[in-house]
Amino acid sequence: MSASPAAVPLPTKTSLETLGDFYVRPLGKGFLLTNDWGYYLHLGPDELRRFVEGRLSEGQPLWRELKSKGFLRKHLDLKDLASKFASHNSYLWRGPNLHIVVVTLRCNLKCVYCHSSVVGEKRREFDMTQKTARRVVDFIFESPNPDLTIEFQGGEPLLNWEVVRFIARYSRKKAQEQRRNLKLALVSNFTLLDEDKLKELSDLGVAMCTSFDGPPAVHDHNRIYLGGNGHASVAHWIERILSLGLPTGALMTTTRRSLSHPRAIVDEYSRLGLREIFLRPLHYLGFARRSWETIGYRDEEFIAFYREAVDYILELNLRGARFKESTASLLLRKILLHQDPGYVDLRSPCGATLGQVSYDYDGQIYTCDEGRMLAAEGDRMFRVGDVAKDGYNEIVDHPTTKACCVASTMESQPLCQTCVYKPYCGICPVLNQATQNSIWGRMPTNSYCYIFMHVFDYLFEKLKDPECEKVFRTWIGAEDAPTAPGCVGKI
């Protein structure tokens, strides 16, 4: 049997001595190489053969590039590689930064895919009390991380406005006393927003983020609002907030209805003045599980949608527009700048308890918001404590935190440990549990893995084109405004 062009060559005993540690994957007509220090390189089949067989002469451009990027064993700049590793894994040395506070489970919308398993508007027993809210804030300030983000989630958080306001004021006061950097973010459907609340939120420095699925035919189909025109209301507030120069952003969830409208969705974002879109697949959690037959789709269909939308965004950029896609920007920050974008879902180990913590309306603490969502469906395995009884050390030492940490460390995942995308990727124990009944998951048939592998393939293919790389660099450039906190939801 003869090997196809996608076969990699094997080193000889002598050439093996010259090779640094690297990962490889066929990509397009050539190969992609990466290493744990976060460097990458595209090689043609012949270049790869010459490299692996030790037939590159010193000093030639390819040899120099391999050397400077840590692919040549005898020429490693240990200091540079260690600093690159430290930089793109900088989260390893901090405590949890992101604290998601579910101030109520009530909601006034009936979204077809709601991941949060919300309850009806009248069920006030699902609101967080002020007493619990105070305990939550005190707990958050036990985290050793000097930078803290508190994200108000729900349900619809504005249904429990008094507690949102209390937490914002109380945490600002504590941050000032303790000299901590505090970011506040509200994730709301905006239907209950008014000028007074907007003013107060803005005075308290709360960034506002919403869910927005695109043109009315898609948005109103996905996010059912019986109290009025959902799309018009969100669009109004996005434009209003932007007109005041306040930070805002939107999260977009892809349903089957969205798949045939990639361009229209991007255009709608752009029309409202938004400069960024977060193209997120649907997850098999909450109400989405129950309506999967009608709103779900295959992973390949999402990837086709993603590629078409980002191709279009690139096209707009090449015509002079400034607009970016959030998943790509987060990944590119790692790939091109060796930076940790602070994205808790895509790191090794994942952010469960160590990067983010989620607090339910009743003070129960979960490893992350997805863990809390799973609990709402009856599986409480990701619960790690209670603000009324436990301290920060207890949740860090909790067996579930440790189990998530081990299961999401790439070195302990059979497929990830040899994958070319390992230096930039991450896995999610909660989604593994929800979809494959095991926090470890099985990557060859894992949806999250499939999607990331293909998003990475897409980005690395595009990076071969210098024009695209130029655009990508503007998405992560120093002059570029970072994504509004709260708008970095689960990809």
Partner: protein, 107 residues
């Protein structure tokens, strides 16, 4: 790398004998294939027998291409394990240096 195809059973089988293969690479390659087939690894005559059975009917051509993909994956995994083993010490040294530096910065 020779293989036997059985169209009726919708499967191909590879025999690896002696020490002429990396066990980690073989298991890794078999694992990669499990999105499209069921993989069985059994010991056989001092070596290992890998059987890949298609999850959907593959026909002669499909089985041939499955064999090609498995072969390529074996090479890729073998290369990965060879360089990983050879570089383990230096890799650990770099990670230790990174961890150490960050600790100092915090102190």
């Amino acid at each position: 790398m020779d293989f036997k195809a059985d169209i009726q059973k919708n499967e191909i089988a590879f025999r690896f004998s002696g020490r002429a293969y990396h066990k980690e690479a073989l298991y890794g390659a078999a694992l990669v294939m499990t999105d499209r087939c069921y993989a069985y690894v059994q010991s056989s005559r001092g070596g290992l027998l890998v059987t890949l059975r298609g999850k959907r009917p593959l026909g002669a051509e499909g089985l041939e291409s499955l064999a090609g993909e498995f072969h390529n994956e074996m090479l890729s995994q073998t290369l990965r394990w060879m360089v990983a083993k050879r570089n383990k010490k230096v890799r650990d040294a770099i990670v230790t240096q990174a961890l150490f530096a960050a600790r100092r910065q915090r102190a």
